[in-house]
C-alpha cells in the first residue's frame, strides 16, 4: 500500500528566508511521527505545506498516492481529508462549540445539520466536552479550547492529522488533558504528524522522531534511538539544551 504521506525535495522560502531546504519524508499509514527541533527550524511550515495552507516552491507532496502539489488538484478536497490543529487553537469566536465543530462537515461535506450535530455531540462526549456544547470559546479554558479544536478537525473524519505545537500555548497544568487526547488518537490508529516541544510525550507516543534543523531533516529514527544515542552533533546539542531546561 502507498504510504500515507510522501514529501520529495520539498522546498519553501518566505522572501529570502529559506524555511524548508529540500525535505524528503515518508509517513506510513497509522504511523505517529513527531517532528522536533528549535523554533524556526521549519516544523510548522512543513505541516502547513502538507495541508496546502502554504504552497511549496518546489518538490512534491503525495498523499495516498495522489500528487497534491499538482496544478489541477482541488485543494479544498485535499484539506477535507487532512485535519490540522494549531498552536493558538484558532476556534471561531462567534460560534458556539457545536457550531465550530459542525461548520466543516455541513459546509464542506454537505452533511445535513441534524446528522452533523449528532456526530459532533458523539465526538464531544468522547472527549469529555459534552457539557460545553453550547458554550462560546472564550468561556472555555485553554485545554478545553484545544480539545474542541481537535474535535473540530476530527469531525471531518480525516485520514491524517497534523498537530502544530498544540500544547505550546497552554498553561502547564492543562497540557496533560490535551496530550491524553492525542495518545487516544494514536492508539486508535490515526496517522499523525506532530510538531512538538514535549519530548517526554514524543518519546512515549511516537513511532518515529525526526529532528529538523534549518529546514532539513538532520536525523531520524525510533524515539529510543534519537533520545538516547543521537548521532548528529546538532541533535545532541539540541537535546542537551532541552535537558538543561528541565523539559525532559
Amino acid at each position: 500500500m502507498a504510504p500515507a504521506v510522501v514529501l520529495e525535495g520539498v522546498q519553501k522560502s518566505f522572501g529570502k528566508l529559506e524555511v524548508l531546504s529540500g525535505i524528503d519524508l515518508e509517513v506510513e499509514e497509522h504511523e505517529v511521527l513527531c517532528l522536533i527541533g528549535a523554533s524556526g527550524s521549519g516544523k510548522s511550515t512543513l505541516l502547513r505545506c502538507v495541508n496546502l495552507l502554504e504552497p511549496v516552491d518546489s518538490g512534491r507532496i503525495v498523499i495516498h498516492g495522489e500528487d497534491v502539489t499538482a496544478r489541477e488538484v482541488d485543494v479544498n478536497e485535499v484539506r477535507r481529508r487532512i485535519g490540522i490543529v494549531f498552536q493558538a487553537f484558532n476556534l471561531f469566536p462567534h460560534m458556539s462549540v457545536l457550531k465550530n465543530v459542525t461548520l466543516g462537515p455541513r459546509k464542506a461535506l454537505r452533511v445535513p445539520r441534524r446528522d452533523a450535530e449528532e456526530r459532533a455531540t458523539e465526538l464531544l462526549t468522547r472527549f469529555g466536552l459534552a457539557d460545553k456544547r453550547d458554550e462560546y470559546p472564550d468561556r472555555l479554558s485553554g485545554g478545553q479550547q484545544q480539545r474542541v479544536a481537535i474535535v473540530r478537525a476530527l469531525a471531518m473524519e480525516p485520514d491524517i492529522m497534523l498537530l502544530d505545537e498544540v500544547t505550546s500555548a497552554l498553561d502547564p497544568a492543562l497540557v496533560g488533558e490535551v496530550l491524553s487526547v492525542i495518545r487516544d488518537l494514536a492508539q486508535s490508529g490515526m496517522t499523525m504528524l506532530i510538531a512538538t516541544h514535549e519530548m517526554g510525550f514524543a518519546r512515549e507516543t511516537a513511532d518515529r522522531v525526526c529532528f529538523l534543523d534549518q529546514g532539513r531533516i538532520l536525523e531520524q529514527g525510533t524515539p529510543d534511538r534519537i533520545f538516547t544515542e543521537p548521532v548528529q552533533p546538532r541533535t545532541q546539542e539540541f537535546l542537551r539544551r532541552i535537558i538543561e531546561a528541565g523539559r525532559m
Binding site: N51, L53, N76, E77, R79, R80, I82, G83, I84, F86, A88, N90, L91, F92, P93, H94, L103, G104, K107, A108, L109, D138, R152, A153, M156
Partner: protein, 251 residues
C-alpha cells in the same frame, strides 16, 4: 461660561432683529406640520439608501479584499470607485445625477424623471465608498489564522469569508457604520437643492412665505431627534464592546 455667552448674545445690537427672525414661536408651531411631512421624505430616502449602501459597500469591500494578482483589475476598479466617490463633494454627485441623467431623456418612465430617485442613487454611490472602507477595515482586522482555520476544514475561499471572516468583521464595525449613517441622515437635506420637497426644502418655502428664519428651528429639531438617538446607540455599542473585550481577558 454659558451665562457670559448668553449675555453677549442678548445684549448684541442685532438681538431684537435676531429674535424676530429666528425665535418666532408662533411660526415654529404653524410651520411644524408641513415640515414634519417633508421630513417623512428624508426618513424614506434615508432608509432606502441605507439598505442599498449596506449591500453595495459590502460588495465593494469584498472585491477590494480579493487576494492575488489574478484579481488585480477588480481590486483596481474598486479602488478607483472609492477614490472617486469619496473625493467628490456629495452635493455635486447629487446635482450631476438628479439633473444630468433625466436630461438625457433615455426613457419616459416616471422613476427616470424623479429627482428623489436619482438623489437616492447619488447618496448610495457616495456613502458606499465610505462604508466600503469601514467594512474593509473590519475584514482586515480579522486575524488571518481565522481564515486559515476555515480553509483547513476544506471550506472554499468564499465559504470561509461568508461564515468565518464576515460575521466577525461586521460585528466589529457596527459603531463606525452607525457613525456614517448619522452623516447620511443629515445629507438627505441635500435633496432640497434638486427639487424634492423634504424637510429643509419645506422650511425654505415657509421661510420665503413669511420672510422669517424661525421655520428652520423645527426643521433642525427634527434632524436632531433622529441623529441623537443614533449617536447614543453608537456610544452604547462601543461601550458594550469595550466591556466584553475586557471581560474576555483583552488579548
Amino acid at each position: 461660561m454659558f451665562t457670559v455667552l448668553a449675555l453677549v448674545i442678548v445684549t448684541a445690537p442685532g438681538w431684537d432683529d435676531f429674535r424676530k427672525s429666528f425665535l418666532n414661536t408662533h411660526l415654529w408651531w404653524s410651520s411644524f406640520p408641513d415640515i414634519a411631512r417633508g421630513f417623512l421624505v428624508n426618513i424614506r430616502v434615508f432608509c432606502i439608501s441605507e439598505v442599498l449602501i449596506l449591500i453595495l459597500a459590502l460588495g465593494i469591500a469584498i472585491l477590494r479584499s480579493l487576494p492575488g494578482p489574478v484579481f488585480f483589475p477588480i481590486r483596481a476598479l474598486a479602488i478607483v470607485y472609492t477614490d472617486v466617490f469619496r473625493g467628490l463633494p456629495t452635493i455635486m454627485v447629487v446635482y450631476i445625477l438628479a439633473f444630468g441623467i433625466p436630461a438625457l431623456q433615455l426613457t419616459d418612465a416616471s422613476w427616470y424623471r424623479s429627482q428623489t430617485y436619482w438623489s437616492i442613487v447619488a447618496l448610495t454611490l457616495v456613502y458606499s465608498a465610505y462604508v466600503a472602507e469601514v467594512y474593509r477595515a473590519g475584514i482586515q482586522s480579522v486575524h488571518p489564522s481565522q481564515e486559515a482555520a476555515a480553509r483547513s476544514l476544506g471550506l472554499s475561499r468564499w465559504q470561509a469569508l461568508r461564515h468565518v471572516v464576515l460575521p466577525q468583521a461586521v460585528r466589529r464595525v457596527v459603531p463606525p457604520l452607525l457613525n456614517d449613517f448619522i452623516g447620511l441622515q443629515k445629507d438627505t437635506a441635500l435633496l432640497s437643492i434638486v427639487g424634492p420637497v423634504e424637510a429643509f426644502r419645506q422650511a425654505q418655502i415657509a421661510e420665503s412665505a413669511n420672510f422669517n428664519f424661525s421655520v428652520y428651528v423645527p426643521a433642525s429639531l427634527l434632524f436632531l431627534a433622529l441623529t441623537i438617538p443614533l449617536a447614543r446607540l453608537t456610544d452604547y455599542l462601543i461601550e458594550r464592546d469595550r466591556r466584553r473585550f475586557l471581560a474576555s481577558g483583552g488579548v
